[in-house]
């Protein structure tokens, strides 16, 4: 112990002694009256901003539904834009932890952003709830007692689509993905459950503007179906060109390519295209129906999986804080409460695995046009039941 910390310790010990035992209880009571502070981290500028917006609005919708309270305590959300830059994410999150003393960090769209902030957050013994990103490392070896997911592990939607292609009996599939890590993971995930022939795997640069070359290749290969993972604007473009080229009779299986964040721009072009998801706006349970209705009333667009997972994250925290009777300082109790995972989810029944990632059903969904002219994904059928990710086994939590 160095001199300074020795002095501080004695000083605070003296204060406690002087104030006497009775001073303690009121200070906890005062803490209970203060708002629970939550830092929401998401990509809110740059090309990935649409997803961050969905995630943020989902979180805010969840908090609004809970009367701006989590577990009976008022909540204050600090919205942080990570700008899709790891260094920016880390410095902003550190500021939130050290200066603003947030009690929880939620959000995170992109896996590399989560990987950047996970250590600073968990090492300060603060709970981090990821409402989207779920890289394999953090679900396996790198899991943490302070890290929880209200979403899924990244491989699962791709594997779901692989299983769906297998179930639908497609013999020859053409794969088209962007040439970066997540694209390669998508191929691996798909192939983990699809056993048929892969006619061709085509990798395109992330800055791809035009898919006419690839569309021509698909037409030449005449596959039974194509599988693709083209997030954001890439997907908008691919879907439109695929339809314009008259290829829509070849089934379009995808992940993160047609969802409520891109459908307004894809419109009719995406009709009947497939995607894999944990939830869709047509889920028939009262909790989900109310979420969709309130979300659309507040934000004017159809919520996506991103919004749903963030909405669930709010309920997850609410249930846990309710269990600890509003105490967010007792980390051990809070962890047990979070692990119980007994919160109302728009997805219906849900529980958390040993690595704190949900064990849940995965659905094959299809783009449909609603009576009011808006587009949304709708469930076709359940593909995987109570699916746990493959990394939980290598997670050793302290």
């Amino acid at each position: 112990m160095n001199r300074r910390s020795f002095l501080t310790t004695t000083a605070s010990a003296a204060t406690v002694a002087a104030a006497g035992g009775f001073a303690f209880a009121p200070s906890i009571a005062r803490a209970q009256n203060q708002a629970v502070k939550v830092a929401f981290v998401g990509t809110l500028s740059g090309p990935g901003a649409a997803l961050g917006t969905h995630l943020r609005d989902g979180w805010l919708a969840g908090v609004t539904r809970l009367n701006n309270q989590l577990g009976g305590r008022a909540v204050e959300t600090l919205v942080i834009d990570d700008e899709l830059k790891p260094d920016v994410a880390v410095s902003k999150v550190r500021a939130a932890l050290e200066r603003d003393k947030v009690d929880f960090v939620v959000g995170v769209v992109f896996s590399n952003m989560l990987q950047a902030i996970v250590r600073p957050v968990t090492e300060s013994n603060t709970f981090l709830i990821t409402a989207n990103a779920g890289p394999s490392t953090l679900a396996g070896k790198g899991c943490s007692p302070f890290l929880f997911s209200s979403a899924y592990q990244n491989d699962q939607p791709h594997a779901t689509m692989g299983q769906a292609a297998q179930d639908l009996g497609y013999k020859r599939v053409f794969i088209l993905v962007p040439n970066y890590q997540a694209g390669k993971d998508a191929v691996a995930g798909f192939r983990s459950r699809y056993k048929g022939e892969v006619v061709d795997e085509v990798y395109v640069p992330l800055s791809q503007l035009d898919f006419s070359t690839e569309v021509t290749k698909i037409a030449a290969a005449k596959p039974d179906a194509i599988f693709t993972f083209m997030p954001g604007a890439l997907g908008v473009n691919l879907v439109r060109q695929y339809r314009q080229a008259g290829l829509a009779n070849i089934p379009f299986l995808s992940t993160f390519t047609v969802d409520e964040s891109t459908l307004p721009a894809q419109g009719e072009s995406a009709l009947d295209f497939y995607t894999a998801a944990t939830w869709a706006p047509n889920f028939d349970n009262p909790h989900s129906r109310r979420f969709v209705q309130e979300f659309e009333a507040a934000y004017g667009y159809v919520p996506s999986n991103f919004a749903a997972h963030a909405y669930d994250a709010a309920h997850m925290l609410d249930a846990a804080i309710r269990r600890t009777k509003g105490d967010v300082a007792d980390k051990a109790a809070l962890r047990t409460a979070l692990e119980a995972g007994d919160f109302p989810s728009v997805r219906g029944a849900l529980r958390l695995g040993p690595n704190h990632f949900p064990i849940q059903d995965f659905w094959l969904c299809k783009v449909a046009k609603r009576a009011d002219g808006k587009f949304q994904t709708e469930t076709v059928r359940k593909v995987l039941s109570a699916d746990a990710d493959g990394y939980a086994a290598s997670c050793k939590m302290g």
């Binding site: 649409a50 917006t53 040439n179 085509v202 640069p205 503007l209 021509t216 908008v236 008259g246 721009a265």
Partner: protein, 310 residues
């Protein structure tokens, strides 16, 4: 063989679109010696305005047409606010200032339209329905709209050439590029001339954006990727040369499309399939830059050098 024809058409169509964006950039660079990084956001604005007005009026073509005066006005406003203070500055100052314009306009776009890709109407045919396509290869429709773009991309360069080489205004522009002091002495308001050239360049960029909006996603940042390729085009073509820009744009478009189509298959002859796919994809995206480097090695001033505003 017919597949190769389709890929060549793809390349041609991409090339003429690149030319439309690069022409304005090359004109401004060549005539006014101004590096305008913000050219990409003018392209983006053209696409956004065309998309919005298209949805508003119910016709893609009406939206695209109305986007032209808007792009022109934005060009005039930007020239008056920012660019006229940069003509006499060095290139570094121009790069910094126009980069600032990119950031400002992109954030403004995001604030106005949000960050999700925009809805764009399908361009309608003469009969009112969607334009459909032509079946060049069995099972693959080649969208008619893309053929229209190729057509426009051949007409516009001819018009530009006529405007610059055969009209009085074009003569003044050419003279202003090489001998501004002399033109000024002959009683021509060189400042106003520059303003007009700049606004015209902005309108060309906006026009390209409007044309591209049904093909490329209309989203924030859409101008950046195009801008980089446009600089490649004007560097290969020779700075300021419209003819060079046209040939270079077609070259870049064809190289990009055919490279992406053929390279992974060609490499499969040498490497195992999975390595060939990924190396091929990586190499195809580098191809344009490799060719640029090679051309610059043999012709440092580009294919058609010297012709400022020729």
């Amino acid at each position: 063989m017919s597949m190769l024809l389709v890929q060549a058409l793809n390349g041609l169509q991409f090339g003429v679109l690149l030319f439309l964006v690069a022409a304005g950039l090359s004109l401004v660079f060549g005539v006014m010696d101004l590096i305008n990084l913000a050219h990409g956001v003018q392209y983006m604005l053209g696409a956004y305005v065309a998309a919005t007005l298209g949805v508003w009026t119910g016709s893609f073509w009406l939206g695209a047409l109305l986007a032209l005066p808007v792009a022109l006005l934005v060009g005039l406003a930007l020239e008056w606010l920012v660019f006229r203070h940069l003509y006499r500055r060095d290139h570094l100052a121009q790069v910094l200032a126009t980069f600032g314009v990119i950031l400002t306009v992109e954030e403004a776009t995001r604030a106005l339209w949000g960050s999700a890709p925009q809805t764009v109407l399908e361009p309608s045919g003469l009969t009112g329905g969607p334009m459909g396509g032509v079946e060049i290869v069995p099972g693959l429709l080649y969208p008619t709209y893309r053929l229209v773009i190729i057509g426009i991309g051949i007409v516009v360069p001819l018009l530009l050439w006529f405007l610059v080489e055969r009209t009085r205004a074009g003569m003044l522009v050419r003279a202003g590029a090489t001998h501004p002091a002399m033109v000024s002495a002959l009683g021509v308001d060189i400042r106003r001339l520059f303003t007009v050239v700049f606004a015209f360049g902005a309108m060309l960029a906006g026009f390209a954006g409007a044309l591209a909006s049904p093909i490329f996603p209309v989203a924030p940042g859409m101008g950046d990727t195009v801008l980089i390729l446009c600089f490649v085009v004007i560097v290969i073509g020779g700075v300021g040369s419209i003819r060079g820009a046209f040939i270079a744009a077609l070259l870049v478009g064809l190289l990009d499309s055919i490279g992406r189509a053929m390279l992974p298959d060609l490499l499969r002859l040498l490497l195992d399939p999975s390595a060939a796919r990924q190396t091929g994809a990586a190499l195809a995206s580098m191809l344009v830059y490799i060719v640029m480097a090679t051309i610059l090695f043999f012709r440092p001033a580009g294919l058609f050098p010297g012709g400022r505003a020729a």
